[in-house]
């Protein structure tokens, strides 16, 4: 199981996946917005989305877990 965390402080703009979805490495899971820039958060490894811990327009801090993946 791997936690995918926010790499910047900002707000969640879009959640691109749903629970149970199979994702490949490098696939965009969540798009964050910070200081007028969009920052995609990608899956580090292939897996299945086990849990989504954020929702659109939610403020997040660097290091907050956004998505949990099952290998």
């Amino acid at each position: 199981m791997s936690d995918v965390a926010a790499h910047i402080t900002g707000t969640v703009w879009k959640v691109e996946v749903t629970v149970g979805q199979k994702v490949s490495a490098g696939e965009v899971l969540v798009i964050l917005e910070s200081m007028k820039m969009e920052m995609p958060v990608e899956a580090p490894d292939p897996g299945v989305v086990k849990e989504i811990r954020c929702q659109p327009s939610q403020p997040v801090n660097e290091g907050d877990v956004l998505v949990v993946l099952d290998p």
């Binding site: 910047i8 910070s34 007028k36 920052m39």
Partner: protein, 449 residues
Amino acid sequence: MIRRLLIANRGEIARRINRVALGMGLETVAVYSDADAGLPHVREASQAVRIGPPPPRESYLDIEALLDAARRSGADGVHPGYGFVSESAEFARACTAAGLTFVGPPPEAMARMKDKARARVLAGEAGVPLVPGSAGVVADARAAAAEAERIGYPVLVKAAGGGGGIGMAVAGNAAELEKAFRQSADRARAAFGREGVYLESYFPAPRHIEFQVIGDGQGQLIHVLERECSIQRRHQKVVEEAGSALFLEGRNAGLLAAMGKAALAAASAFGYANAGTVEFLVSDGGFYFIEMNARLQVEHPVTELTTGLDLIGWQLRIASGERLTVKQEDVRRTGHALEFRIYAEDPVRFLPSPGRLAVFRPPEGDGVRVDAGYGEGDLVTPYYDPLLAKLIVAGRTRDEAIDRSERALEGFRVEGIRTNIPLHLRIVRDRTFRDGSLDTHFLEHHAKA
């Protein structure tokens, strides 16, 4: 004259407008979102009005909230600054309808410039050289492909309602074009609510040179010389200068004169009044119109420092119906000035870096001016653009201004968040930058970490 001016903006530009307005004897009204309640621009105005929660759509972009703030504070004029509602013809019209003096161009002129595909056509009709491209927006991917074949690859796909590089993509061949077309149309729809895109020939290494213009709408229209803004990242300006190294010591005087004339022709074609900027690309000795911006530019201070002209003061006077008494032949540049945009971002990975400014000590020195939106201890939130401050440095020559810039950048102390000051230091120490051989891809090849 406007008596009580509402400043519909935040950060450094709100502070700057506030200082000029107070200096002219006006009362000022600041507006703020919940994220900005503790910032200097709120404290320094004669009064301040809360306009909503942090997201821009619910505060600084909310026309109703801004008009309500004007009503509640008894303002009779509005300065929009840059960004946010500054280029919204709808906002300008709403101000006029509410009996407020809008500090900016006539709404009709704003509408003409806002559609960048249409602006190209108007400028072309006025005899201004254009970047080779489509006559207007292209209907679909197939029409785009036909146009691109005619123009020749590579082409730049641009959103007609765009700005700041949003909805812009380069295509080197037909396959890339299809992707670029879709991407630009999608981005344009998401960001601007319209999906019209147009094509321009992509110049491999152009310089970005723009002209400040100012007119009173009563027959007097002048340009206030050029600025060079070739140092960019992702189509965002990073360093600007007045003037351009291309024209130092009287070089390329014919080109400079022709560009000044074209800038005035373009501004006239748009029915322009108040302060604005006509942007050109310069490539292989030719110059090409890209767009006109209907507002005060971020980089206006380099023009002010080298010409002595108070652009914001004139904006306020012109909006109040005064005539522009400065004549074209009165406009002369003394010395050279550079502006460095100090961003809250990682200088290597270029990621945003919001947070608290544990230490914030701008430099001082001869020819050094700092327009900052924040002070020590303030929180930089992720809701707005990453501009912390503008470092503006003037000298008698470009070399002297660059030397002073290096010292000022070395002395600029910021702790608590990451900034791009190290990037600026790499730029001013770069041999090619010093030589003045600039193009808009400079940062892809130079000043690397």
